[in-house]
Symmetry: C2
Subunit: 334 residues, 2 copies
């Protein structure tokens, strides 16, 4: 169970979580891809240790090289680290006890500060991340240019280094084929949508990450505000389409939702893709008030917990994971 | 609910019902296809009325022309009348209150005497039918030839006019592809297998009617004994294959059974074909002890009750029937 999901967030029938990350680099230090494997790496970790591993603080530092492949994948599936960090020999992550804030070290940038909250909360999540950035800023001098702003390894992050993402369950927009047109109407806000596990991945349970593309030439507050505007509007659109679908195909929708529930509840083995499809139907059905077999956070946690590596952490073959997945799902509904 | 199914029969995990019919014709009277629409038809019905509609007897006579198309189809789906009788203007049926014994009048022959029992009981069902035949024999002189035996409109029924059928749920034999070879090994017994609703129909829930092909040159007792031998052996074979399947694919089988149960329990609409498929899995699962959401007779009744005309009796379109079917199934499991 991801602790940050335990708190019921706003609009949580459609908004799963809000994440904010801020990219920062040390002044006078080459970017990570230039210093990997050198004796400069420990210097990057120094300010982290000073800021977060002082006595009285509860953060923990996890070195990538100390983790097994399955442990790394689990952190990737929980969106705590990126695949790139998992693959890096020098990489590390600093985590708060509830995993709600964290810092990836030696990813694309020296520091990727991150905060996550359940539901829809761009402002609050940004505040949490900015606080983290300030804590680290007391120990580290950030690479900063008065014209460009904060400097980053990739030019797309230069300026604020800020990315705000909201994960939305856009089942009705996706199934009615109106998602793309809904998104393109927001293109002037510089906002993009990706599947649950990043660019090019399948949408997995119809979950989409809505995030800003532009980090330069805008104030942080405006980036947060833009995402907030777009996401609010997408949530409204999703609700509208759900309402229309339910009104015009009541029996069809109820049938799909209840069959999905029946299959999830009684299957003795189930693969990730199938489970995601049924959980997506079930979540929409819960939002529509058709059925309520568990809480919303339990369902969102399930969406993460049934990922292959989450289950692999307990060992076993793909077939054994399909069985464990079915058991995990069943347990959630009791 | 068909009353004759209420009594738990022998081997009822696999044997749904046993049916016996005896074809008889009046001596000195042309066969039905020669006298249809003539004033000789009432003469055929006379002995029926004398034998079964006397004061103190509970039988009822139903004329085909008094029934609506839906009412006729319902009787066909319950195996009480044939499609041919339903289509006949002169046809009628005499029914006992529990519908366990009946006589079709002016079908292919003047009289088709019928008895049905739940489970596997060729001997008992034959006795019940023979008693019916004797009752009618007191009022009617049967067409009989000392060399050939009882005379019938179709030569395939000449001799005893007897057909013994047992309806078996041969799911495991069917799915493992061994049904045909199992049946062909009994060809010397003159036994044939057909789908639930007769020759050329799809098997519907993997239900097969096992019946004798030969009516001539054998004593009634031998026909009954042959069917009994073949059916016992088929039941054993079905049990063996179930045991092997379950042992070698436990999780696979349990998954299929439980998913079928989940879908039947939660679907909001379901068509006949899909319902039959899931009920077939569920019945095998009940036989295997995997799940027990209702009694065996309730399940067999469901297999009949969800047929289109059974539901159509309450009116409505195909879509409304799919909904009514789902509700009926759900009710059975509560």
């Amino acid at each position: 169970m991801a602790y940050w999901l335990k708190a019921e967030g706003r609009e949580s029938d459609i908004a799963v979580s809000t994440r904010v990350r801020i990219a920062r680099n040390l002044a006078g230090m080459p970017f990570p891809h230039r210093i990997r494997g050198t004796n400069k790496v420990p210097k990057v970790k120094e300010p982290i240790k000073k800021a977060f591993l002082r006595p009285g603080m509860d953060f923990s530092l996890i070195e990538m090289k100390s983790l097994s492949p399955v442990e790394k994948t689990r952190l990737v599936e929980q969106h705590i680290i990126s695949k790139d960090l998992a693959a890096s020999e020098d990489g590390a992550v600093v985590l708060s006890p509830d995993e709600a804030v964290s810092v990836m070290i030696m990813e694309e940038d020296h520091f990727r500060l991150q905060a996550i909250k359940g539901g829809f909360d761009p402002e609050g999540t940004f505040e949490a991340c900015r606080e983290l950035e300030k804590m680290l800023g007391k120990e580290a001098e950030y690479a900063f240019d008065h014209k460009l702003g904060y400097l980053t390894a990739c030019p797309t992050n230069v300026g604020t280094g800020l990315r705000v993402s909201v994960m939305l369950h856009l089942k009705a927009l996706a199934m009615s084929g109106t998602l793309q047109s809904a998104l393109s109407s927001f293109s002037r806000f510089g906002v993009t949508a990706r599947g649950m596990y990043g660019e090019g991945t399948s949408a997995g349970a119809d979950m989409y990450q809505i995030s800003n593309q532009i980090t330069l030439g805008l104030r942080e507050e405006d980036i947060v505000k833009n995402i907030s505007t777009v996401v609010k509007s997408l949530i409204e659109k999703e609700r509208d389409v759900r309402r229309i679908l339910y009104k015009s195909n009541k029996l069809e929708i109820e049938d799909k939702v209840m069959r999905a529930y029946g299959l999830l509840r009684y299957a003795k083995k189930i693969n990730t893709e199938e489970a995601m499809e049924y959980l997506s139907w079930l979540n929409m059905g819960m939002g529509m008030g058709i059925v309520q077999p568990c809480t919303q956070d339990a369902l969102y946690n399930l969406v993460m917990d049934i990922m292959p590596a989450m289950l692999a952490a307990e060992g076993g073959t793909a077939a054994e994971r399909d069985k464990a997945r079915a058991e995990l799902i069943k347990k959630t509904f009791v």
